[in-house]
């Protein structure tokens, strides 16, 4: 996997979109996905914050992978990840206060999002910087697109709005359950079923 031909790099990038999508296939760290997908705007913001941390941690972990003794790799990776998360948290607070307020505690919680740790451990600690960069971008895009789709579905059905604008007619009675925690599970479940259908139809095993 460590060869750097452009076709294999392309594969590392695109696998995060569908084949190994972090939300629909890897299914790690769903807490942030559940909590921050009540509106499309929050979901998109969370996706971007996550992508930055994912990318930064993948690059740094791949760069230092040969210097770190395997016994202490987990604490070192966690230090790297939490550093990037704190950078994102402070930057949002300083320059995007509204977004920072609505994402609240879930930005700091990216630290314990298993998907970041999972990619550091399973991928970038064994691959080149270039491949890890591609993996990070792919995972980031895959995560952002899917969490935003979940956010849009939940916001439209559960609140009658989309990106904060009213889209449903005024007499529309929103299905509150969709913006409550169970709604996230329902939407993710339906998306997973759809994803399976697409994979079976277009990418026959």
């Amino acid at each position: 996997m460590s060869q750097t031909s452009s076709s294999s790099l392309w594969k590392e990038l695109t696998k995060g979109f569908l084949k190994e999508n972090p939300i629909l296939v890897i299914m790690l760290g769903l807490c942030a996905t559940l909590a921050c997908s009540t509106s499309a705007t929050d979901a998109f913001g969370m996706g971007l914050a996550f992508s930055f941390v994912m990318l930064g941690s993948n690059i740094v972990v791949a760069t230092i992978r040969k210097l770190v003794p395997s016994q202490v790799r987990i604490p070192v990776f966690i230090t790297v990840i939490s550093t990037f998360v704190t950078i994102v948290d402070y930057t949002l607070k300083a320059y995007f206060p509204a977004l920072s307020q609505s994402l609240g505690v879930f930005v700091p919680l990216i630290v314990v999002n298993c998907i970041v740790m999972g990619r550091a451990e399973a991928f970038s600690s064994k691959n080149t910087v270039m491949a890890s960069l591609m993996d990070g971008i792919g995972m980031g895009i895959g995560f952002t697109v899917i969490i935003t789709v979940i956010g849009m579905i939940r916001e439209v059905i559960g609140n009658g709005m989309l990106f904060g604008h009213q889209v449903m007619p005024a007499h529309y009675q929103p299905f509150l359950i969709l913006i409550l925690p169970p709604g996230a599970f329902l939407v993710i479940g339906f998306l997973m079923a759809l994803h399976r259908k697409i994979m079976i139809t277009f990418y026959k095993p």
Binding site: V72, P75, A94, S102
Partner: protein
Amino acid sequence: MRDAIKMVSVLFIACGLAAGSLAVVNAITREPIASHEKRQREAALREVFPDADEFVNITPDRVWEALRKGRKEGHVFLIQVQGYSGPITLMFATDSDGALTGLRVLSHTETPGLGAKIATAQFRDQFKQKRPEELILKKDDPARGRIDAITGATVSSRAVTKAMRSTLEAFNEEQTGGEK
């Protein structure tokens, strides 16, 4: 032993670099964060008491006197209450007659789409011109209450309403007690 030294030094260096880069980020963002918080607070004071042109902090970060051309026109309060899923920070003001002039939710962690609606104008505007004794949810006391709870977020609505009432009652008691 060699391994142990290597492990310790790698971890030490990694943490040192992390701490160093965070110090840099902190130095860059501290100014914008602090000035933003200050601006936000000033905007909030102005919004809950639009008629005043000066605010004097009489109890540090708790109570302000609202002045208009040097005359005392009312008070602004900043309180924190326990909501449904975490603390809610509220700022509200009363004029010299004791009627509310405005309410603002500065921060909260309520459920988005439900409890989070305490921050919408629709919920906040109904507090204008209300007196402390009217700050009860209609569903809790239909005879005296004048506040409509948010559908599906009674706990959040009640927490806000109740905290405002008790703060104002305690403050008024203190004021009249002091003047006697």
